[in-house]
Symmetry: C2
Subunit: 192 residues, 2 copies
DNA sequence: GCGCTTAGGTGATCTACATCACATTCTGCA
DNA sequence: TGCAGAATGTGATGTAGATCACCTAAGCGC
């Protein structure tokens, strides 16, 4: 499947769009390719766009005190990512996005999203649904943070994304779980 | 201001609705009154509705192992609350909602929300925007959990909701911050 | 191939916070 | 008005995970 087909099948799961409507929608997306390690959004940038992942894997992360990195999201194919706080509030990026592997994405500007939402009711429906999913996932992760210890969160993560274990270096998994790489290392070496 | 006016001014900040459209929308809300301590959603319930707070204060919480309570949200006037996971997925409640003080709410069923979103584009727009706010708040709280220690989170909470300090018993604030009540007590008695 | 950088493992030590135990208010209500 | 139960304070002790220090192995540019 090419990028257009992937996006189409993703959106049609939730919204009813005619072929003409989808083509019109799609004409607002810009396909982009990135290499492993390339930055898409860096702290301090103006944020104008959000990104739909077609292939590869991105991470959205926050760096505190110039030292510690926390990963908010691994963005796999059919996931959307950006610094949504900066995007909606027209502020500078505090969250960065870069590529864990080579990646293809479809880029949509905030202005175009809002325009499309105004023009096509079903597009607004789609984006409501999508945000809703994100909200529920975020709330679930928050609860998991409060309720579970590191080991339980680690197992939860691997159950949710089995691919991640091989795809992603372990120190990034630690940064997602919010623990030090040493603790993570001890954790899964102990349980053998 | 009465309940209808409060909801109207809340919604009109984001969506353009004619008076007729708003009246039609409002006709789907059921006003309800609760006493301090009353439960609105209990674990295991079927969840059919979400709630818009007109006055008073609710809490949405999760109880683990029948022992520890974690508060996901204090719902103050003009906030919405429910077990959204259960509401959208038609599963039983894992999150409970009850009243910290006497409260008036407006109750909207999931079916009616979806119907209204289909019928009136601007209503769908409003709910997209609302969910978006919730998503950003949840993500911010997640980052705060990973990045800050208890003391910083406590001060952040009081900066965000100054009323809370007097309105809400301290052990509930501890349950929101995800620390034991003892730790919280030591924390703000030490800093004098 | 050589060296440099990055990833990852492991021990020793430190610390924030949980947990347990008990004392002390406060508060609603019979 | 008096008392049961909730809310809160505070000491003693235990522990998960951070931090520091150092080591090995793997990837990559030249």
């Amino acid at each position: 499947m090419n990028a257009k087909e992937i996006l189409k099948s993703h959106i049609l799961k939730t919204a009813q769009l005619t072929d003409e409507q989808f083509d019109y929608l799609f004409s607002h997306f810009k396909p982009l390719s990135f290499k492993k390690g390339q930055a898409i959004i860096s702290e301090g940038d103006k944020v104008e766009n959000e990104y739909f992942v077609v292939s590869g894997c991105l991470k959205a992360f926050f760096i505190n005190d110039e030292i510690k990195m926390y990963i908010l999201q691994f963005a796999m194919p059919t996931w959307w990512t950006s610094d949504y706080g900066a995007l909606y509030n027209h502020t500078r990026a505090t969250i960065s996005v870069d590529c864990i592997s080579d990646a293809e994405v479809l880029c949509l500007s905030n202005d175009d999203r809002e325009k499309l939402c105004r023009e096509i009711h079903q597009v607004e429906h789609f984006f409501r649904w999508r945000t809703n999913r994100g909200y529920l996932a975020s709330q679930k992760r928050l609860l998991s943070f409060m309720n579970n210890d590191t080991k339980a969160r680690y197992e939860e993560l691997l159950a949710l994304y089995p691919q991640l274990y091989n795809l992603v270096p372990k120190h990034l998994i630690a940064a997602y779980l919010g623990v030090s790489r040493e603790t993570l290392s001890r954790l899964y070496n102990a349980q053998k």
